[in-house]
């Protein structure tokens, strides 16, 4: 078994970017996106480029190809690739390098493959177009690459069109496309971000092996530190267009220098001691549900939620976890089964529920941006439930809004702001205040932290925990992120294809033995340990399979 890093010898300097500055154009002005970044990459070396949204990592990745995406311009710095100055080259000279010596793997493979051509034709297009190999030879090679990337039916899958294969397969086909010309450098731009966690593992492993096999240098762009830990020899942390920290992967994971780097795994260090209660506030009882068609999205779902605790519902996309929330709120009346709230059945449809029933169950959404009317001020947003449910007005209303703002650690100066004048974390806090304003017993949190940067996530989770303690609120917490689950939950419900696989206390669910699916799901969540992927593949490969890897 090859081990990933350490024994790889760094070759000569391949890419040398110095003092790169890039401007982006928006709102009629140019403003800096990358503010003077240096980047050095050796032959055969894999660099993880990590940072949160808006850090400029994707822009920097494309700049490594000498390419400025539309709406951007490189204003300063030198880009030396294998001794050639990319910024001094004209378009035709750059085209000679692109797709032959430097290749690119995009985030959304589904959108980046041309729908009108067969996969294999697109995979060999650059290789044949640059005259590196004749067509038939390139295609034979592509089939071998498909096999090496463990695509099913590698001899024929290339004859298919992009919409005929799955997302994970497309991402692998795109890696084959990049590899076809045997480039010196591949830029991976968030290649697994759009994939489900169980698919991600397979794609990661395939990418890592093939890069290693051909000794290709790579820049791997992602926001997920655990993913980069599996792939990279060195890691570069970017923030607001500047370098925060550069270090070999193992060293950075073990002993990060900068506080910001440490904050990137802030949530992973949170952990809530589990508590429980015998008093069931809400019971979803044998629910079947579907969206109009005959295909059931939920089948015989039963979930118990004890008062004052947090129940996390985990699962991949399509597992039915958000549909469960829609059933509880009454947006999607179930075909079968019922929902008991404080031991009394709730009317199934939203329109049949009383104002007071509606008040007791509140909801917080994933995207705070779309959960608040952009034309309403913070006062309108928080004040409306107070007026509507509690009939407050005038001075009383103002005082209560002010109190709520304090609870979420903001102050009165936010009262007249519009959502567009708030940061991501502040927006989510306002949404929490809106839910809190109704004085609810149960709050459904639908992926409330997954759109936020790590350090902000931590703040939001802490706030939710504090509020729970103060007001004895119950949370139903829907998420796909196991780190968040560990941080906040008392109980866990695992869902898969519309069914509940398992429900129980957090510590019981997270420790073996697991049912097969829970095992697959839990083991697929990348960990900070750089050897995690290697060990996981070994444990899955040795037949016994379901041993407790990583624990």
């Amino acid at each position: 078994m090859k081990s990933k890093s350490g024994d790889r010898t760094a070759g000569d300097l391949l890419l040398d970017m110095r003092d790169i500055r890039i401007d982006g154009f928006s709102d009629d002005v140019w403003h800096p996106i990358i503010k003077g970044v240096d980047l050095k990459l050796h032959r055969g070396e894999v660099m993880g480029l990590i940072g949160e949204s808006g850090a400029g990592k994707s822009t920097l990745g494309k700049a490594a190809m000498g390419y400025a995406q539309p709406g951007c311009r490189i204003t300063n710095g030198t880009i030396q690739f294998d001794g050639m100055d990319l910024r001094a080259m004209n378009d035709a000279q750059l085209r000679e390098l692109h797709g032959s010596r430097i290749a690119y793997v995009a985030q959304s493979a589904a959108a980046s493959f041309n729908p009108a051509h067969r996969l294999i034709d697109q995979c060999v297009e650059a290789t044949v177009g640059h005259g590196l190999r004749p067509d038939d030879e390139a295609k034979t090679d592509a089939r071998e690459l498909f096999a090496a990337l463990q695509l099913p039916d590698p001899d024929n899958i290339g004859e298919r069109y992009p919409h005929q294969v799955s997302g994970g397969q497309l991402q692998r086909a795109m890696t084959a496309m990049a590899m076809s010309s045997r480039p010196d450098l591949i830029i991976f731009d968030e290649p697994t971000t759009a994939l489900d966690v169980t698919t991600q593992v397979e794609v990661l492993a395939a990418m890592r092996d093939i890069v290693e096999q051909f000794h290709t240098a790579a820049i791997y762009i992602t926001h997920d530190l655990a993913v980069v830990a599996q792939m990279a020899d060195v890691i570069k942390v970017l923030r607001y267009g500047e370098t925060v920290e550069d270090a070999p992967a193992r060293q950075m994971l073990k002993k990060p220098e900068e506080a910001y780097t440490r904050s990137l795994w802030a949530v992973r260090s949170l952990e809530k001691p589990q508590e429980t209660s015998e008093d069931i506030i809400l019971r979803v009882n044998g629910v079947d549900a579907s969206y109009g068609s005959t295909i059931k999205v939920l089948e015989d779902v039963t979930i118990d939620i004890p008062r004052g605790s947090t129940v996390a519902v985990v699962g991949e996309s399509g597992s039915g976890k958000s549909t469960t929330a829609r059933v509880i709120t009454g947006l999607l009346p179930p075909m079968k089964g019922d929902v008991l709230f404080n031991d009394e059945p709730l009317p199934l449809a939203l329109k049949d529920r009383s104002k007071d029933q509606l008040r007791r169950i509140q909801m917080i959404y994933q995207m705070a941006d779309t959960a608040m009317n952009p034309k309403h001020t913070v006062r309108d947003i928080i004040g409306r439930p107070l007026e509507f449910y509690l009939g407050l007005s005038g001075k009383q209303l103002d005082e209560r809004i002010s109190e709520l703002l304090k609870m979420i650690e903001l102050d009165d100066s936010f009262m007249e702001r519009l959502p567009s004048e708030l940061s991501g974390g502040q927006k989510q806090r306002i949404c929490i205040a809106r839910a809190l304003a109704a004085d609810p017993e149960l709050i459904i949190c639908d992926e409330v932290t997954s759109a936020l940067d790590q350090i902000v996530q931590e703040g939001i989770l802490k706030l939710l925990l504090r509020l729970q303690k103060e007001f004895n609120i119950t949370y139903l917490f829907i998420t796909h992120d196991i780190a968040t689950v560990k941080a906040i939950s008392d109980q866990i419900v695992v869902m898969f294809q519309g069914r509940v696989v398992e429900q129980g206390m957090k510590n019981d669910i997270l420790s073996p033995p697991h049912p097969d699916y829970t095992q697959l799901l839990l083991s697929s969540v990348p960990e900070m340990d750089p050897d995690w992927l290697t060990q996981l593949l070994e444990s899955r490969g040795d037949g016994s399979g379901m041993s407790a890897s990583g624990n």
């Binding site: 709102d27 808006g54 779309t370 959960a371 009317n373 034309k375 509507f388 708030l422 806090r429 703040g459």
Partner: protein, 306 residues
């Protein structure tokens, strides 16, 4: 871990946050950045507006006051000459602004009232109402609107009221489509779901959640629809089936004076007479299009930023 607690505070969270400005301040800043074409458009529109409102004060003669010489040449007495019946062309141009623009604005407003409210309702309701209205609109839109209005006018007869109603109803189909589409974009937003979960009434959701958010595209569409309606009415009047004499109207004025064009060799000024009302129509539509183009660029630019 505790060190992180000290460095982080929610209120101080850094973000690329838009500066707070008042409405007037924002508007003025936008206006200052407006391109020349938009300024040109706004000035022209204001000029027409003044003409239309103060027509009786500005026009030298009455709307259908007849003088002795038909087709009189341009002179200090009749700046743009007289028409085939001996009416002052300048006065009729000024009154024409009032009639032509007034009727077009009334028609567009009616069309937005019908199409807009039905479109928003269809977007919220999404059941039989939406299905029924959408299919009905599909069929109406399968007939070119100029042809359809010609047919309806032949049946109901040409007068201003019929004209306004027929064009407004036919044009409402387009407004319906747009209003429904932009409302659908808003209806799927989480904040609308949040309002429904709160138990808000349909009226509240329409007024507070949907209306403010569909306003920018609808305002732009109002400009475009106005141009279309204005041109349709002018064309119908030109064809002789729109606004009827003796009402002064630019489309009919082109038709009435069209023959003068063949005298260009002898009297260039007279030949220009039919082009004046036609040019007046063109200038206004150009102006509105310029302003709408800038407005669309502005609002879509904000969307890009996000």
């Amino acid at each position: 871990m505790s060190t992180d607690d000290q460095t982080y505070s929610a209120a101080g969270e850094v973000a690329s946050v838009a500066e707070r400005r008042t409405w007037w301040d924002r508007t003025w800043r936008n206006l200052k950045k407006a391109p020349v074409t938009a300024w040109f458009g706004m000035i022209v529109i204001s000029f027409y507006f003044i003409l239309a409102v103060f027509a009786p004060l500005l026009a030298p003669y009455g709307e259908s006051q007849i003088f002795d010489t038909p087709y009189a040449p341009w002179s200090s007495e009749f700046w743009f000459g007289t028409d085939q019946l001996g009416r002052d062309v300048l006065s009729r141009l000024i009154y024409g602004a009032r009639n032509t623009i007034g009727i077009a604005v009334a028609t567009t407003a009616l069309s937005f009232l019908i199409g807009g409210s039905l479109g928003v309702m269809a977007a919220i309701n999404r059941s039989w109402l939406d299905q029924g209205l959408s299919r009905f609109v599909d069929v109406l839109m399968a007939i070119p609107s100029l042809i359809f209005s010609l047919m309806l006018l032949s049946i109901f007869g040409s007068n201003v009221i019929n004209l306004i109603i027929i064009i407004a109803v036919l044009d409402a189909t387009r407004v319906f489509r747009l209003a429904r589409a932009v409302s659908l974009n808003v209806v799927v937003m989480d904040y609308v779901e949040a309002s429904r979960l709160r138990g808000e009434s349909l009226a509240w959701v329409m007024r507070r959640d949907i209306l403010p958010n569909i306003l920018p595209p609808m305002v732009a569409e109002f400009g475009l629809r106005f141009c279309f309606v204005f041109l349709t009415i002018a064309s119908l009047s030109f064809l002789g089936v729109g606004i009827q004499p003796p009402t002064a109207d630019w489309g009919s004025m082109v038709r009435e004076n069209a023959q003068l064009i063949s005298f260009a060799e002898y009297d260039m000024k007279a030949a220009m007479t039919p082009l004046l009302p036609a040019g007046a129509i063109a200038l206004l539509t150009v102006a509105v299009n310029f302003v709408v183009d800038w407005f669309l660029h502005k609002t879509s630019g904000i969307r890009d930023e996000k």
